[in-house]
Amino acid sequence: MNTVDPAAVEMVVLTALALAAAAFGYILLLLALSRYEPGVASRGALPPIRARPKTLVVVLECRTREDEVGETLGRLLSLDQPRMSVLVVDDRTSGPVADVLGAVSDPRVRRVRRPDAAADTGAALNAALAHLRSGTAAGLPSDPEDVVLGVLRPGERCDADTVDAVLAAFDDPHVGLVQVGMRVQDRRQGLLARVQDVEEVLYTEVFQRGRQHFGGDSLGSAGRFVRLSALVSLGTSSPWREGRTPELDLGLRLLVAGWRSEFAASGVLHGPSPSGLGGWLSHRGRRLQRRMQCWPQVPRLLENLSGVTRAQLLVGLSTPVLLLAASLLAAGMVLWSGALAIGLARGTMALSWWWAAAYAGAVVPAFLLAGVYQESSGEPVGVWPRWRTVLLLHLYPAVVVGWSLAAWWALVVLVTGREGRGRSVRAGYAARHRKSRRGAWGWLVAPVCLVGVAAWMVFTVAGSSVQSAPPPLPSVTGETP
């Protein structure tokens, strides 16, 4: 059996502690900053001048969840927003969408045909854009700077305050796209849905809000509101590329083209949660896959952007690499758990202060974050008390493991071009996918090399087989120094 060099273990412990302390400090810093509104200087924006009223066109793309089109449309039309209209993209003459549209006589609702039945989201959105630019859409301002496109899917909803917040953010003429927070609509219907809601709320309320203080642009999960003139400025009739969720790709190209993104802190989109653990993993995997598909854009991003924006986007896009590294941590934890289980069963396990310290390090932020969730979620205390959130945040290591699995799944899909059970990705998507894969190879080499170097270093050091004293953590014999 190999014995690990004590010097190597010490180095690992110290480095891991330093990284954990840095992550802990970063979270606390963002948590503190997120409690205050950023000043104008840190947002990098000047006060709006001569802002003209904007018009919002909600593009409702009906490829999935057709049964929920009626409810989404009804909610949109019930909003007291005279400067809002709805453009439904659909290609069927019969079915749920046709039934709903047949029953709606509201002049604010228009319908545009999808190019063909197999067209994906990007093609459908491009068809909606072509309709708007053709001049056949009556009632829109003549200046594309005053028109905002919002992409919604059946099952999602937004309220009047969100529309106001989004349109107000576009008063700054430099802003090309606006992000809002996400909430899980059916969060009261199960533990998994609640976990996702906690994730979404904390991401918005702590990370997005906190990062506003650093200035610069970042891309959240829901950059769905775009200015029409920004789309036109890209110089193509098809700004949305083929793919299942092309918003991230578009957002990056707009930033590279010189537009700014803005985070409307008071806006929120409510969406359905993926069903089941498999659905959750697959949903997270697709999110990471989107980021991987954007890796070919990194050189342009580094070349054309600067400062905090460049750093935030680079770190954001390389999140999958961090999660792949985290999967090594998770696997190590699993092995340790096995060792502890054996120790427990044999009665040789001794408690260590390291455990208490690690637990305290995990619970303190959990308690603080639970308070943020309680304040921000709008949940009545009786319905969802704070202690439940604290307990729920104890599941966070499991969530990180889930994200790591999703990262491996996304990597496999990116490399092989196939999803689970031998299912190939759709034809239209596959073409774009192949192109992304070719461009992403350069970036894939980096994490693979990193893992190779790490393995070589660790096994070289571990192979020295130095006989040594038992370690102080975690202890199994109770004879630790």
């Binding site: 690990v4 054996i342 990193l450 270093m457």
Partner: protein
Amino acid sequence: MGQDASTGGSWTTVQVDLLNGGWMLMGGAVVVLLCYVLFVGTSLLLAGARRVASGHAFGRELSDERWFGEREA
């Protein structure tokens, strides 16, 4: 600080192997993370240096045209 179970029974051997395996994976993760920090930091520094060399040291310039537009002309 590594585990040595040369004097223990078979369960002790398994236990120590699991612990040592855990340390190896942790070590691998730490090295990957350090390389990641180095890689991202170097990329940003090089990109910044290139921008300085090309005369774009001050970031994204404000465009007066976009603020006031041709309508104002």
